[in-house]
Protein backbone atom coordinates (compact mmCIF):
# COMPACT_ATOMS: atom_id res chain seq x y z
CA UNK A 1 0.00 0.00 0.00
CA UNK A 2 1.51 3.30 -1.02
CA UNK A 3 1.25 6.35 1.23
CA UNK A 4 -0.17 9.63 -0.02
CA UNK A 5 2.25 12.47 -0.61
CA UNK A 6 0.73 14.41 2.27
CA UNK A 7 1.33 11.55 4.70
CA UNK A 8 4.91 11.25 3.48
CA UNK A 9 5.37 15.01 3.84
CA UNK A 10 4.23 15.03 7.47
CA UNK A 11 6.26 11.90 8.22
CA UNK A 12 9.44 13.38 6.79
CA UNK A 13 8.91 16.86 8.21
CA UNK A 14 6.55 16.51 11.14
CA UNK A 15 5.19 19.78 12.46
CA UNK A 16 5.23 20.65 16.16
CA UNK A 17 6.96 17.61 17.61
CA UNK A 18 7.67 18.23 21.26
CA UNK A 19 6.52 18.58 24.80
CA UNK A 20 4.73 21.39 26.63
CA UNK A 21 4.96 21.86 30.37
CA UNK A 22 1.99 19.86 31.60
CA UNK A 23 2.21 21.40 35.08
CA UNK A 24 1.05 24.75 33.68
CA UNK A 25 -2.65 25.43 34.18
CA UNK A 26 -3.12 26.65 30.61
CA UNK A 27 -1.69 23.46 29.07
CA UNK A 28 -4.01 20.57 28.27
CA UNK A 29 -2.62 17.08 27.57
CA UNK A 30 -4.31 14.18 25.82
CA UNK A 31 -2.68 10.72 25.83
CA UNK A 32 -4.61 8.15 23.83
CA UNK A 33 -4.07 4.70 22.33
CA UNK A 34 -2.06 1.85 23.77
CA UNK A 35 1.38 0.36 23.05
CA UNK A 36 -0.21 -3.07 22.48
CA UNK A 37 -2.35 -1.62 19.71
CA UNK A 38 0.68 -0.14 18.01
CA UNK A 39 -0.45 3.47 18.40
CA UNK A 40 0.02 5.98 21.19
CA UNK A 41 -0.55 9.69 20.65
CA UNK A 42 0.18 12.49 23.03
CA UNK A 43 -1.22 15.82 21.99
CA UNK A 44 -0.86 19.03 23.98
CA UNK A 45 -2.40 22.47 23.65
CA UNK A 46 -1.38 25.73 25.28
CA UNK A 47 -4.22 28.22 25.62
CA UNK A 48 -3.81 31.99 25.72
CA UNK A 49 -5.72 32.84 28.89
CA UNK A 50 -6.75 36.31 27.80
CA UNK A 51 -8.05 35.43 24.33
CA UNK A 52 -9.03 31.78 24.92
CA UNK A 53 -7.21 30.85 21.71
CA UNK A 54 -4.82 27.92 21.32
CA UNK A 55 -1.43 29.54 20.92
CA UNK A 56 0.70 26.43 20.73
CA UNK A 57 0.23 22.73 20.11
CA UNK A 58 2.73 19.87 20.30
CA UNK A 59 2.62 16.14 19.75
CA UNK A 60 4.57 12.97 20.16
CA UNK A 61 3.34 9.77 18.52
CA UNK A 62 4.31 6.09 18.60
CA UNK A 63 2.77 4.56 15.52
CA UNK A 64 2.79 4.14 11.78
CA UNK A 65 3.33 6.94 9.26
CA UNK A 66 -0.40 7.70 9.07
CA UNK A 67 -0.64 8.06 12.84
CA UNK A 68 2.33 10.43 12.85
CA UNK A 69 0.86 12.43 9.96
CA UNK A 70 -2.60 12.61 11.59
CA UNK A 71 -1.20 14.03 14.81
CA UNK A 72 1.16 16.40 13.01
CA UNK A 73 -1.75 17.73 10.96
CA UNK A 74 -3.94 18.04 14.07
CA UNK A 75 -1.37 20.27 15.80
CA UNK A 76 -1.25 22.51 12.74
CA UNK A 77 -5.02 22.87 12.70
CA UNK A 78 -5.26 23.49 16.44
CA UNK A 79 -3.02 26.54 16.50
CA UNK A 80 -5.05 29.75 16.31
CA UNK A 81 -8.37 28.05 17.05
CA UNK A 82 -10.49 28.61 20.16
CA UNK A 83 -10.98 25.50 22.24
CA UNK A 84 -14.63 25.37 21.19
CA UNK A 85 -13.66 25.42 17.52
CA UNK A 86 -10.97 22.82 18.20
CA UNK A 87 -13.54 20.50 19.75
CA UNK A 88 -15.37 20.42 16.42
CA UNK A 89 -12.49 18.92 14.42
CA UNK A 90 -13.81 15.71 12.92
CA UNK A 91 -11.65 12.71 12.10
CA UNK A 92 -13.10 12.54 8.58
CA UNK A 93 -11.56 15.95 7.83
CA UNK A 94 -8.18 14.43 8.64
CA UNK A 95 -8.96 11.39 6.47
CA UNK A 96 -9.80 13.67 3.53
CA UNK A 97 -6.85 15.98 3.97
CA UNK A 98 -4.33 13.13 4.18
CA UNK A 99 -6.13 10.77 1.76
CA UNK A 100 -6.01 7.98 4.33
CA UNK A 101 -7.13 4.57 3.07
CA UNK A 102 -9.86 2.69 5.02
CA UNK A 103 -7.36 0.60 7.02
CA UNK A 104 -5.82 3.82 8.35
CA UNK A 105 -9.01 5.57 9.45
CA UNK A 106 -8.33 4.51 13.03
CA UNK A 107 -5.28 6.81 12.98
CA UNK A 108 -7.53 9.82 12.36
CA UNK A 109 -9.96 8.65 15.06
CA UNK A 110 -7.07 8.51 17.47
CA UNK A 111 -6.06 12.07 16.56
CA UNK A 112 -9.61 13.29 17.14
CA UNK A 113 -9.69 11.47 20.49
CA UNK A 114 -6.36 13.07 21.42
CA UNK A 115 -7.68 16.57 20.64
CA UNK A 116 -10.76 15.98 22.79
CA UNK A 117 -8.72 14.51 25.62
CA UNK A 118 -6.40 17.53 25.57
CA UNK A 119 -9.34 19.94 25.61
CA UNK A 120 -10.99 18.16 28.53
CA UNK A 121 -7.72 18.08 30.44
CA UNK A 122 -7.48 21.85 29.99
CA UNK A 123 -11.13 22.37 31.02
CA UNK A 124 -10.72 20.19 34.10
CA UNK A 125 -7.62 22.07 35.18
CA UNK A 126 -9.50 25.33 34.87
CA UNK A 127 -12.63 24.31 36.74
CA UNK A 128 -14.83 23.85 33.67
CA UNK A 129 -17.02 20.79 33.23
CA UNK A 130 -15.61 18.21 30.82
CA UNK A 131 -17.25 18.11 27.42
CA UNK A 132 -19.21 14.98 26.65
CA UNK A 133 -18.39 13.59 23.23
CA UNK A 134 -20.31 11.00 21.36
CA UNK A 135 -18.34 7.84 20.70
CA UNK A 136 -16.72 8.10 17.31
CA UNK A 137 -18.46 5.83 14.87
CA UNK A 138 -15.38 4.41 13.24
CA UNK A 139 -13.05 2.54 15.52
Amino acid sequence: MAYSEKVIGHYQNPKNVGTLDKSKSNVGTGLVGAPECGDVMRLQIEVDETTGMIKDAKFKTFGCGSAIASSSLATEWLKGKSIDEAAKIDNMEIVEELHLPPVKIHCSVLAEDAIKAAINDYRKKNGMPELKFEESVVH
Binding site: Y11, E36, C37, G38, V40, T61, C64, A67, V103
Partner: protein, 405 residues
Protein backbone atom coordinates in the same frame (compact mmCIF):
# COMPACT_ATOMS: atom_id res chain seq x y z
CA UNK B 1 29.10 0.43 -5.85
CA UNK B 2 25.97 0.60 -3.72
CA UNK B 3 22.94 -0.76 -5.54
CA UNK B 4 19.54 0.61 -4.56
CA UNK B 5 16.87 -0.39 -3.70
CA UNK B 6 18.15 -2.99 -1.26
CA UNK B 7 16.15 -6.19 -0.93
CA UNK B 8 16.32 -7.73 2.55
CA UNK B 9 13.07 -9.67 2.50
CA UNK B 10 14.39 -13.00 1.24
CA UNK B 11 12.14 -14.95 3.61
CA UNK B 12 9.20 -13.65 1.60
CA UNK B 13 10.65 -14.54 -1.77
CA UNK B 14 13.94 -14.52 -3.64
CA UNK B 15 14.81 -13.30 -7.11
CA UNK B 16 15.32 -15.98 -9.75
CA UNK B 17 18.99 -16.65 -10.28
CA UNK B 18 19.74 -15.69 -13.92
CA UNK B 19 21.24 -19.15 -14.42
CA UNK B 20 17.87 -20.62 -13.43
CA UNK B 21 15.96 -18.45 -15.90
CA UNK B 22 18.34 -19.40 -18.66
CA UNK B 23 17.66 -23.11 -18.25
CA UNK B 24 13.91 -22.51 -18.19
CA UNK B 25 13.53 -20.48 -21.36
CA UNK B 26 13.68 -23.29 -23.97
CA UNK B 27 10.85 -25.08 -22.15
CA UNK B 28 8.42 -22.24 -22.85
CA UNK B 29 8.99 -22.25 -26.61
CA UNK B 30 10.85 -24.99 -28.48
CA UNK B 31 10.57 -27.71 -25.85
CA UNK B 32 7.00 -26.99 -24.86
CA UNK B 33 5.81 -30.62 -24.77
CA UNK B 34 3.55 -32.20 -22.20
CA UNK B 35 5.60 -34.54 -20.04
CA UNK B 36 2.71 -36.99 -20.11
CA UNK B 37 2.68 -37.25 -23.94
CA UNK B 38 4.21 -40.65 -24.47
CA UNK B 39 4.00 -40.90 -28.25
CA UNK B 40 6.20 -38.16 -29.68
CA UNK B 41 9.54 -36.44 -29.17
CA UNK B 42 7.95 -33.30 -27.69
CA UNK B 43 6.64 -35.36 -24.81
CA UNK B 44 9.83 -37.39 -24.45
CA UNK B 45 11.91 -34.23 -24.25
CA UNK B 46 9.68 -32.78 -21.56
CA UNK B 47 9.67 -36.02 -19.62
CA UNK B 48 13.44 -36.21 -19.75
CA UNK B 49 13.73 -32.64 -18.47
CA UNK B 50 11.35 -33.41 -15.59
CA UNK B 51 13.23 -36.60 -14.72
CA UNK B 52 16.48 -34.69 -14.67
CA UNK B 53 15.03 -31.99 -12.42
CA UNK B 54 13.54 -34.61 -10.12
CA UNK B 55 17.06 -35.98 -9.58
CA UNK B 56 18.40 -32.48 -8.84
CA UNK B 57 15.64 -31.78 -6.31
CA UNK B 58 15.95 -35.19 -4.66
CA UNK B 59 19.73 -34.89 -4.33
CA UNK B 60 19.49 -31.64 -2.40
CA UNK B 61 17.50 -33.31 0.39
CA UNK B 62 19.11 -36.76 0.20
CA UNK B 63 16.01 -38.40 -1.25
CA UNK B 64 15.28 -40.80 -4.08
CA UNK B 65 13.89 -39.08 -7.21
CA UNK B 66 10.78 -41.29 -7.04
CA UNK B 67 9.96 -39.72 -3.68
CA UNK B 68 9.51 -36.21 -5.12
CA UNK B 69 5.92 -35.10 -5.89
CA UNK B 70 5.83 -31.78 -7.74
CA UNK B 71 3.19 -29.31 -6.52
CA UNK B 72 2.36 -25.66 -7.13
CA UNK B 73 4.35 -24.63 -4.08
CA UNK B 74 4.75 -25.18 -0.36
CA UNK B 75 1.18 -24.28 0.58
CA UNK B 76 -0.13 -27.05 -1.64
CA UNK B 77 2.53 -29.44 -0.35
CA UNK B 78 1.53 -28.61 3.27
CA UNK B 79 -2.12 -29.28 2.45
CA UNK B 80 -1.37 -32.49 0.60
CA UNK B 81 0.85 -33.82 3.39
CA UNK B 82 -1.45 -33.08 6.30
CA UNK B 83 -4.83 -33.78 4.71
CA UNK B 84 -3.39 -36.67 2.72
CA UNK B 85 -1.96 -38.40 5.80
CA UNK B 86 -5.08 -37.66 7.86
CA UNK B 87 -7.28 -39.37 5.26
CA UNK B 88 -4.90 -42.21 4.39
CA UNK B 89 -4.22 -43.20 8.00
CA UNK B 90 -7.74 -42.67 9.35
CA UNK B 91 -7.91 -46.28 10.51
CA UNK B 92 -4.80 -45.78 12.68
CA UNK B 93 -5.90 -42.60 14.42
CA UNK B 94 -6.94 -38.97 14.04
CA UNK B 95 -4.48 -37.02 16.19
CA UNK B 96 -1.89 -34.60 14.81
CA UNK B 97 0.76 -32.71 16.78
CA UNK B 98 2.07 -29.40 15.46
CA UNK B 99 3.27 -26.14 17.02
CA UNK B 100 1.95 -22.62 17.30
CA UNK B 101 4.59 -20.86 15.17
CA UNK B 102 3.96 -22.89 12.03
CA UNK B 103 3.12 -21.09 8.81
CA UNK B 104 -0.57 -20.41 8.21
CA UNK B 105 -0.57 -23.03 5.46
CA UNK B 106 0.02 -25.63 8.19
CA UNK B 107 -2.02 -24.02 10.99
CA UNK B 108 -5.08 -23.40 8.84
CA UNK B 109 -4.87 -26.89 7.35
CA UNK B 110 -4.82 -28.26 10.91
CA UNK B 111 -7.87 -26.15 11.76
CA UNK B 112 -9.57 -27.67 8.74
CA UNK B 113 -8.71 -31.14 10.09
CA UNK B 114 -10.29 -30.20 13.42
CA UNK B 115 -13.50 -29.22 11.64
CA UNK B 116 -13.46 -32.62 9.96
CA UNK B 117 -13.42 -34.24 13.40
CA UNK B 118 -9.67 -34.69 13.82
CA UNK B 119 -7.77 -33.75 16.94
CA UNK B 120 -4.79 -31.39 16.86
CA UNK B 121 -2.33 -30.48 19.62
CA UNK B 122 -0.56 -27.14 19.13
CA UNK B 123 2.70 -27.22 21.06
CA UNK B 124 3.95 -23.95 22.51
CA UNK B 125 7.47 -22.68 21.86
CA UNK B 126 9.91 -21.20 24.37
CA UNK B 127 11.30 -17.64 24.03
CA UNK B 128 13.99 -19.07 21.73
CA UNK B 129 11.26 -20.17 19.33
CA UNK B 130 11.88 -23.89 19.89
CA UNK B 131 9.51 -26.62 21.03
CA UNK B 132 10.14 -28.58 24.21
CA UNK B 133 10.81 -32.25 23.41
CA UNK B 134 9.34 -33.33 26.75
CA UNK B 135 6.10 -31.56 25.88
CA UNK B 136 6.15 -33.25 22.51
CA UNK B 137 6.58 -36.65 24.13
CA UNK B 138 3.81 -35.94 26.60
CA UNK B 139 1.46 -34.96 23.78
CA UNK B 140 1.82 -38.30 21.98
CA UNK B 141 -1.26 -40.54 22.20
CA UNK B 142 -2.12 -43.96 20.81
CA UNK B 143 -4.17 -42.13 18.15
CA UNK B 144 -1.32 -39.83 17.03
CA UNK B 145 -0.60 -40.34 13.33
CA UNK B 146 1.50 -37.31 12.44
CA UNK B 147 3.93 -34.83 13.95
CA UNK B 148 4.08 -31.70 11.78
CA UNK B 149 6.91 -29.36 12.80
CA UNK B 150 8.54 -26.78 10.57
CA UNK B 151 12.25 -27.09 9.85
CA UNK B 152 12.94 -23.37 10.22
CA UNK B 153 10.64 -20.50 11.07
CA UNK B 154 9.90 -17.83 8.48
CA UNK B 155 9.78 -14.87 10.86
CA UNK B 156 12.63 -15.43 13.27
CA UNK B 157 14.63 -18.04 11.35
CA UNK B 158 14.99 -20.44 14.27
CA UNK B 159 15.76 -24.06 13.36
CA UNK B 160 13.87 -26.85 15.13
CA UNK B 161 15.62 -29.97 16.52
CA UNK B 162 14.35 -32.22 13.70
CA UNK B 163 16.56 -35.22 14.51
CA UNK B 164 15.33 -35.37 18.11
CA UNK B 165 11.74 -34.85 17.01
CA UNK B 166 11.90 -37.67 14.48
CA UNK B 167 13.62 -40.01 16.97
CA UNK B 168 10.67 -39.57 19.32
CA UNK B 169 8.23 -40.08 16.46
CA UNK B 170 9.98 -43.22 15.26
CA UNK B 171 9.94 -44.70 18.75
CA UNK B 172 6.18 -44.29 18.77
CA UNK B 173 5.50 -45.30 15.17
CA UNK B 174 4.37 -41.82 14.13
CA UNK B 175 5.06 -40.12 10.80
CA UNK B 176 7.01 -36.85 10.68
CA UNK B 177 6.14 -34.05 8.30
CA UNK B 178 8.25 -30.91 8.08
CA UNK B 179 7.50 -27.69 6.26
CA UNK B 180 11.09 -26.97 5.22
CA UNK B 181 10.30 -24.03 2.96
CA UNK B 182 12.79 -21.69 4.63
CA UNK B 183 15.50 -24.26 5.26
CA UNK B 184 15.98 -26.20 2.02
CA UNK B 185 18.78 -24.72 -0.02
CA UNK B 186 19.95 -22.56 2.90
CA UNK B 187 21.19 -25.18 5.36
CA UNK B 188 21.86 -28.91 4.88
CA UNK B 189 18.61 -30.85 4.97
CA UNK B 190 18.70 -34.65 4.63
CA UNK B 191 15.46 -36.57 4.94
CA UNK B 192 17.25 -39.74 6.02
CA UNK B 193 19.65 -38.24 8.53
CA UNK B 194 16.84 -36.03 9.85
CA UNK B 195 14.33 -38.90 9.89
CA UNK B 196 11.66 -36.98 7.98
CA UNK B 197 8.85 -38.88 6.21
CA UNK B 198 7.20 -36.00 4.39
CA UNK B 199 8.76 -32.62 3.59
CA UNK B 200 7.39 -29.51 1.88
CA UNK B 201 9.56 -27.17 -0.14
CA UNK B 202 9.22 -24.42 -2.72
CA UNK B 203 11.43 -23.07 -5.49
CA UNK B 204 10.87 -19.34 -5.05
CA UNK B 205 12.54 -19.20 -1.62
CA UNK B 206 15.76 -20.58 -3.13
CA UNK B 207 16.29 -18.47 -6.25
CA UNK B 208 13.91 -20.52 -8.38
CA UNK B 209 10.61 -19.50 -9.97
CA UNK B 210 7.28 -19.00 -8.20
CA UNK B 211 4.48 -21.49 -8.70
CA UNK B 212 6.50 -24.67 -8.29
CA UNK B 213 7.29 -26.69 -5.21
CA UNK B 214 7.41 -30.27 -4.06
CA UNK B 215 6.35 -32.69 -1.40
CA UNK B 216 8.82 -35.38 -0.48
CA UNK B 217 6.99 -38.59 0.39
CA UNK B 218 9.09 -41.45 1.82
CA UNK B 219 8.91 -44.75 -0.08
CA UNK B 220 10.92 -47.02 2.21
CA UNK B 221 11.03 -47.58 5.98
CA UNK B 222 8.18 -46.84 6.12
CA UNK B 223 6.44 -46.57 2.79
CA UNK B 224 4.23 -43.51 3.16
CA UNK B 225 1.12 -42.74 1.16
CA UNK B 226 -1.11 -39.71 1.00
CA UNK B 227 -4.55 -39.47 -0.56
CA UNK B 228 -4.68 -37.11 -3.52
CA UNK B 229 -6.39 -33.79 -2.87
CA UNK B 230 -7.24 -33.13 -6.53
CA UNK B 231 -8.88 -35.54 -8.94
CA UNK B 232 -7.55 -35.85 -12.44
CA UNK B 233 -5.08 -37.66 -14.64
CA UNK B 234 -3.21 -39.41 -11.85
CA UNK B 235 0.12 -37.66 -12.35
CA UNK B 236 2.92 -37.86 -9.80
CA UNK B 237 2.23 -41.47 -8.82
CA UNK B 238 -1.43 -40.66 -8.38
CA UNK B 239 -0.79 -38.21 -5.56
CA UNK B 240 -1.03 -34.96 -7.51
CA UNK B 241 -2.92 -34.69 -10.76
CA UNK B 242 -2.39 -31.90 -13.24
CA UNK B 243 -0.14 -31.36 -16.25
CA UNK B 244 3.38 -30.82 -15.01
CA UNK B 245 4.74 -27.27 -15.01
CA UNK B 246 7.78 -28.26 -17.08
CA UNK B 247 9.58 -24.87 -17.24
CA UNK B 248 8.97 -24.37 -13.51
CA UNK B 249 10.21 -27.85 -12.69
CA UNK B 250 13.34 -27.35 -14.82
CA UNK B 251 14.00 -24.06 -13.00
CA UNK B 252 13.37 -25.64 -9.63
CA UNK B 253 15.85 -28.41 -10.48
CA UNK B 254 18.50 -25.90 -11.53
CA UNK B 255 17.91 -23.86 -8.37
CA UNK B 256 18.46 -27.03 -6.30
CA UNK B 257 21.63 -27.86 -8.19
CA UNK B 258 22.99 -24.37 -7.58
CA UNK B 259 22.01 -24.49 -3.92
CA UNK B 260 23.81 -27.79 -3.56
CA UNK B 261 26.99 -26.25 -5.03
CA UNK B 262 26.82 -22.83 -3.38
CA UNK B 263 24.97 -23.31 -0.08
CA UNK B 264 28.09 -23.52 2.06
CA UNK B 265 29.79 -20.45 0.62
CA UNK B 266 26.53 -18.47 0.64
CA UNK B 267 25.84 -19.44 4.24
CA UNK B 268 29.33 -18.46 5.41
CA UNK B 269 29.23 -15.10 3.65
CA UNK B 270 25.67 -14.29 4.69
CA UNK B 271 26.08 -15.25 8.33
CA UNK B 272 29.08 -12.90 8.53
CA UNK B 273 27.03 -10.08 6.97
CA UNK B 274 24.02 -10.91 9.16
CA UNK B 275 26.21 -10.81 12.28
CA UNK B 276 27.65 -7.47 11.23
CA UNK B 277 24.14 -6.08 10.77
CA UNK B 278 22.80 -7.59 13.96
CA UNK B 279 25.72 -6.53 16.15
CA UNK B 280 25.51 -2.97 14.88
CA UNK B 281 21.75 -2.75 15.38
CA UNK B 282 21.63 -4.26 18.87
CA UNK B 283 24.16 -1.62 19.82
CA UNK B 284 21.23 0.76 19.67
CA UNK B 285 19.73 1.25 23.11
CA UNK B 286 16.77 -1.04 23.91
CA UNK B 287 17.10 -3.22 20.82
CA UNK B 288 16.61 -6.98 21.16
CA UNK B 289 17.07 -10.02 18.94
CA UNK B 290 13.96 -12.21 18.77
CA UNK B 291 14.38 -15.99 18.93
CA UNK B 292 17.41 -18.20 19.36
CA UNK B 293 20.68 -16.81 18.06
CA UNK B 294 22.22 -20.26 18.18
CA UNK B 295 19.73 -22.49 16.40
CA UNK B 296 19.03 -20.22 13.48
CA UNK B 297 19.25 -19.84 9.71
CA UNK B 298 22.46 -18.08 8.66
CA UNK B 299 20.82 -15.26 6.72
CA UNK B 300 18.05 -14.13 9.08
CA UNK B 301 17.70 -11.84 12.07
CA UNK B 302 14.61 -10.39 13.71
CA UNK B 303 15.10 -7.37 15.95
CA UNK B 304 12.73 -5.30 18.09
CA UNK B 305 13.45 -1.62 18.67
CA UNK B 306 11.55 -0.72 21.79
CA UNK B 307 9.20 2.29 21.74
CA UNK B 308 9.14 2.73 17.97
CA UNK B 309 6.49 1.13 15.80
CA UNK B 310 7.65 -1.20 13.03
CA UNK B 311 5.57 0.12 10.19
CA UNK B 312 6.46 3.71 11.04
CA UNK B 313 10.08 2.60 11.09
CA UNK B 314 9.88 0.96 7.66
CA UNK B 315 8.44 4.15 6.22
CA UNK B 316 11.69 5.92 7.04
CA UNK B 317 13.59 3.97 4.40
CA UNK B 318 11.21 1.78 2.43
CA UNK B 319 12.01 3.61 -0.79
CA UNK B 320 15.53 2.20 -0.53
CA UNK B 321 15.28 -0.88 1.68
CA UNK B 322 12.69 -3.66 1.45
CA UNK B 323 12.02 -5.27 4.83
CA UNK B 324 9.18 -6.84 6.80
CA UNK B 325 7.77 -5.89 10.17
CA UNK B 326 5.98 -7.94 12.80
CA UNK B 327 3.63 -5.05 13.23
CA UNK B 328 0.26 -5.46 11.59
CA UNK B 329 -0.93 -1.91 11.57
CA UNK B 330 -2.67 -2.34 8.24
CA UNK B 331 -4.63 -5.42 9.17
CA UNK B 332 -8.16 -4.93 10.40
CA UNK B 333 -7.46 -6.74 13.66
CA UNK B 334 -4.42 -4.59 14.57
CA UNK B 335 -2.94 -7.83 15.89
CA UNK B 336 0.82 -8.06 15.59
CA UNK B 337 2.71 -11.21 14.55
CA UNK B 338 1.39 -14.40 16.21
CA UNK B 339 4.87 -15.89 15.91
CA UNK B 340 6.51 -13.17 17.99
CA UNK B 341 3.68 -13.33 20.51
CA UNK B 342 4.15 -17.12 20.75
CA UNK B 343 7.80 -16.43 21.65
CA UNK B 344 6.47 -14.49 24.60
CA UNK B 345 6.94 -10.97 23.28
CA UNK B 346 4.46 -8.39 24.48
CA UNK B 347 2.32 -6.79 21.80
CA UNK B 348 4.37 -3.61 22.10
CA UNK B 349 7.66 -5.38 21.28
CA UNK B 350 6.00 -7.37 18.50
CA UNK B 351 4.80 -4.10 16.98
CA UNK B 352 8.39 -2.82 17.15
CA UNK B 353 10.07 -5.61 15.22
CA UNK B 354 11.84 -5.77 11.89
CA UNK B 355 12.75 -8.95 10.00
CA UNK B 356 15.96 -8.92 7.97
CA UNK B 357 16.39 -11.71 5.41
CA UNK B 358 19.67 -11.54 3.50
CA UNK B 359 20.25 -13.33 0.21
CA UNK B 360 22.66 -14.51 -2.43
CA UNK B 361 22.98 -11.06 -4.01
CA UNK B 362 23.21 -8.99 -0.80
CA UNK B 363 26.43 -6.99 -0.61
CA UNK B 364 28.41 -5.57 2.31
CA UNK B 365 27.79 -2.03 1.03
CA UNK B 366 24.06 -2.70 1.25
CA UNK B 367 24.41 -3.91 4.83
CA UNK B 368 26.43 -0.82 5.78
CA UNK B 369 23.78 1.41 4.22
CA UNK B 370 21.02 -0.49 6.05
CA UNK B 371 22.76 -0.15 9.41
CA UNK B 372 22.98 3.59 8.93
CA UNK B 373 19.42 4.05 7.67
CA UNK B 374 17.81 1.93 10.39
CA UNK B 375 19.84 3.55 13.17
CA UNK B 376 19.01 7.03 11.92
CA UNK B 377 15.30 6.31 11.65
CA UNK B 378 15.06 4.61 15.04
CA UNK B 379 16.66 7.65 16.64
CA UNK B 380 14.45 10.06 14.73
CA UNK B 381 11.24 8.22 15.64
CA UNK B 382 12.25 7.90 19.27
CA UNK B 383 12.55 11.68 19.42
CA UNK B 384 8.92 11.66 18.30
CA UNK B 385 7.77 8.81 20.56
CA UNK B 386 5.87 9.59 23.77
CA UNK B 387 6.76 6.11 25.04
CA UNK B 388 10.47 6.77 24.62
CA UNK B 389 10.12 10.07 26.50
CA UNK B 390 8.30 8.34 29.36
CA UNK B 391 10.87 5.55 29.39
CA UNK B 392 13.66 8.12 29.60
CA UNK B 393 11.87 9.86 32.47
CA UNK B 394 11.85 6.54 34.29
CA UNK B 395 8.09 5.99 34.04
CA UNK B 396 7.07 2.32 34.12
CA UNK B 397 4.84 2.04 31.08
CA UNK B 398 3.10 -1.03 32.45
CA UNK B 399 1.63 1.05 35.29
CA UNK B 400 -0.20 3.38 32.90
CA UNK B 401 -3.83 2.69 32.26
CA UNK B 402 -4.03 2.85 28.50
CA UNK B 403 -7.25 3.72 26.74
CA UNK B 404 -7.69 0.75 24.44
CA UNK B 405 -9.41 1.63 21.26
Amino acid sequence: MLKLPIYLDHNATTPCDPRVVETMIPYFTNNFGNAASRNHPFGWQAEEAVDNARVQVAKLIGADPKEIIFTSGATEADNLAIKGVYEMYASKGNHIITCNIEHKAVLDTCKHIEKEGGEVTYLKVNPDGLIDLKELEAAIKPTTILIAIMYANNEVGTVMPMKEISALAKKNGILVFSDATQAVGKIPVDVNKDGIDLLAMTAHKMYGPKGIGALYVRRKNPRVKVTAQMDGGGHERGMRSGTLNVPGIVGFGKACELAMLEMDTDAKRLSALRDKLENALINIEEAYVNGSRRYRLPHVTNISFKHVEGEGLLMGFNKDIALSSGSACTSASLEPSYVLKALGLGDDLAHSSLRFGLGRFTTEEQIDYTIEAVTKTVNKLREMSPLWEMYKEGIDLSTIEWAHH
